[in-house]
């Protein structure tokens, strides 16, 4: 037995797989590609951010403009996360647990923000709320500021990130079906009890997954926010917008310092995503047997 195994391992060509040369070429190409397009830029961001030392890095971050951008980004992300969590849950619940006419249309509609260019999404809000827009004059009369202010930025972000939670939940909830809910109802549970005691625990990892992706996009969104923000320094610049402005003004250390925060967010998201995917897979296997 042992001899046989050794012979197998030492065989120059193994019929079960590709020749070694081809394997190495394919793997090498993949590694090269990832290095040039993913690893190198990531390293460069941090290298550039720290090019004048740690002190310069932190003083760039702690500039009033930088702090304002970080604060605004966090506020907008918090608003859009909360609302999209609620909307996403409601949409997924409605689509997967009930039958109604126009259901497939609603599913298509949920995907719309993914298929529209973010710039168009931003313009859409300008058309709605701008001075020449649909609600513009009315808002002006009542002294409500939406465009070039936090509400506009939040609205644009909500629009762009709307699909994440719903998209993460719909397939999961479709697969789980409505049987457990029916069991809960027949045992006397109310609608809310059914949701909080049966549905939500079953989809919690999916919810976290959707929230995570939604957050990454909300903090990183550039196009739509750029159109509605107005770029008022220290007021309506989110982190991605500030990076661009600083870069254009040749303040490379400051630009890359802010950019490094976004890059770190991406890395954390990636790790969290991997962990969540493992949990989702486990949940899947449990329900499969």
């Amino acid at each position: 037995m042992t001899d046989g195994q050794i012979v197998l391992r030492e065989a120059a060509t193994d019929a079960r797989t590709e020749p070694r040369l081809i394997r190495w070429i394919v793997i090498g190409l993949a590694v090269l590609f990832l290095t040039v397009f993913v690893v190198l830029p990531l390293v460069l961001v941090f290298a550039e951010a720290f090019s004048r030392g740690v002190g310069a890095y932190f003083s760039a971050l702690l500039e009033p403009e930088g702090l304002a951008a970080i604060r605004l980004t966090l506020v907008v992300a918090a608003i859009s996360l909360t609302l999209n969590l609620v909307f996403g849950l409601i949409a997924a619940w409605a689509i997967t647990k009930f039958d109604f006419p126009g259901k497939s249309f609603l599913i298509t509609l949920i995907d719309l923000p993914f298929s529209v260019s973010p710039v168009i999404s931003g313009l859409l809000f300008v058309l709605l709320f701008g001075m020449q827009g649909f609600f513009g004059p009315w808002l002006q009369d009542h002294n409500v500021q939406i465009l070039f202010a936090v509400p506009g930025i939040a609205l644009a972000t909500i629009f762009v990130t709307f699909p994440f939670v719903a998209r993460a939940l719909i397939p999961l909830m479709q697969e789980q079906g409505t049987l457990e809910e029916e069991a809960a109802v027949s045992l006397g549970a109310s609608g809310l009890q059914t949701f909080f005691r049966v549905t939500l625990p079953n989809i919690k990892w999916g919810v976290l997954y959707g929230v995570l992706l939604c957050n990454a996009r909300a903090m990183g969104e550039f196009g739509a926010v750029s159109v509605v923000s107005g770029h008022i320094r220290g007021e309506t610049n989110t982190m991605p917008l500030l990076v661009e402005i600083l870069y254009n003004e040749y303040q490379f250390v400051a630009a890359f310092a802010i950019a490094s925060l976004l890059a770190m967010l991406a890395l954390v998201t990636l790790v969290a995503k991997t962990i969540l995917e493992r949990h989702l897979d486990e949940g899947q296997q449990l329900s499969d047997d």
């Binding site: 029916e182 069991a183 109802v185 027949s186 006397g188 549970a189 109310s190 449990l286």
Partner: protein, 346 residues
């Protein structure tokens, strides 16, 4: 509790799942809804539970309109075909669920809930599984936990949808006997759905045979087996020999051969003769159905033979069960005589 269903109609698009069903379920009985898939039996069960609503008709529990109440207010225990246990809860919490969601005013305290769950787990003989999750249980165990969960709310009626459908043959047989004993013990009005005639005949006090959204026959297991009301029931329950016959002049004809039996009041015209396999016996020559033996095998006390009948146009192959005292041999020409039979017009 008695349940009365009047003229229930339920349509899914153009398909009529229930097409005018009337049924009275008596207090304390164990009733089987038996039929092929698509016969409407599960729909009927879901309507009683309040998980589906009829397009027309009435459902009343003890004379009270049940359609005015939602599923949660009917105090109905429902056991799903695939158990539908809450996968993120332990066995204990699954069984406790119905007690925990009760309105505060009537909810038991924690000690009361624990005691009741323990009692139910003892009843289904699975108290040692209290801390497991559903994914760690076998099919038969899941089924019993589902039953314990349904019983926790002290249901006025217990509804079971294909309770043994997803289990293997041996476990199924065990659970059947166990369900019967359990029913005798707790004596709650119970209705179960099945497509397995053996299950229905063995477990139920009364059997409702359904086909295409209608009730074909209601009766005890003995009645539906021995005196099927329609051709459908005869062919669905037990195995039957079916022969096309013609009733005329007070006689029964197979092709041009008159049988030595009376039509028993069957209307003249083209009809179908139904005979159980063990009711078709080899008779002394004269007036029987002539056929030749094609194949013989023995099972314990009986021998099963394929007989090719030559009456009528062409050849009809039937299978009969006869005692082994008269040994049949390949190629024998025999005459057959139905000892018990039913005739339904075609």
């Amino acid at each position: 509790m008695t349940i009365e269903l009047k003229n229930l109609v339920k349509k899914f698009g153009a398909f009529a799942a229930l097409d005018g069903v009337d049924l009275k379920i008596e207090d304390g009985e164990l009733l089987a809804l038996l039929g092929p898939s698509g016969s409407g039996k599960t729909t009927l069960l879901r309507i009683i539970a309040g998980l589906d609503w009829p397009d027309a008709g009435d459902v009343s529990f003890d004379g009270e309109n049940a359609l005015a109440r939602g599923a949660g207010e009917r105090h109905v225990g429902f056991v799903f075909q695939h158990y539908a246990l809450f996968r993120h809860m332990t066995v204990f919490e699954n069984v406790a669920f119905g007690l925990r969601v009760q309105p505060r005013a009537i909810r038991k305290d924690e000690a009361g809930i624990r005691a009741r769950v323990k009692e139910l787990l003892d009843l289904v003989q699975l108290d040692w599984l209290a801390n497991r999750y559903p994914s760690q249980l076998s099919g038969g165990q899941r089924q019993r936990i589902a039953l314990a969960r349904a019983l926790a709310i002290e249901p006025r009626i217990l509804l079971l949808d294909e309770p043994f459908g997803a289990l293997d043959a041996k476990v199924r047989k065990e659970l059947r006997r166990w369900l019967r004993t359990l029913h005798e013990e707790i004596n709650v009005t119970s209705v179960f759905v099945t497509h397995d005639q053996e299950e229905a005949l063995e477990v139920a006090n009364r059997v409702v045979v359904m086909d295409k959204g209608k009730i074909e026959q209601i009766g005890t297991p003995g009645e539906v087996y021995d005196r099927p009301a329609t051709a459908f029931v005869h062919s669905f329950i037990g195995e039957s020999i079916v022969l096309p016959v013609n009733v005329s002049d007070g006689r029964v004809w197979v092709g041009d051969q008159a049988l030595n039996i009376k039509p028993n009041g069957a209307a003249p015209g083209p009809s179908q003769l139904f005979v159980r396999r063990h009711d078709m016996q080899v008779a002394p020559p004269g007036g029987g159905l002539r056929g030749s033996v094609r194949y013989v095998r023995t099972f314990g006390a009986i021998q099963r033979a394929d007989i090719a009948l030559s009456a009528g146009d062409g050849e009809t192959l039937i299978e009969i069960d006869t005692p082994r005292d008269r040994q049949l041999k390949l190629g024998d020409v025999v005459e057959l005589q139905p000892t018990r039979f039913r005739i339904f017009s075609a």
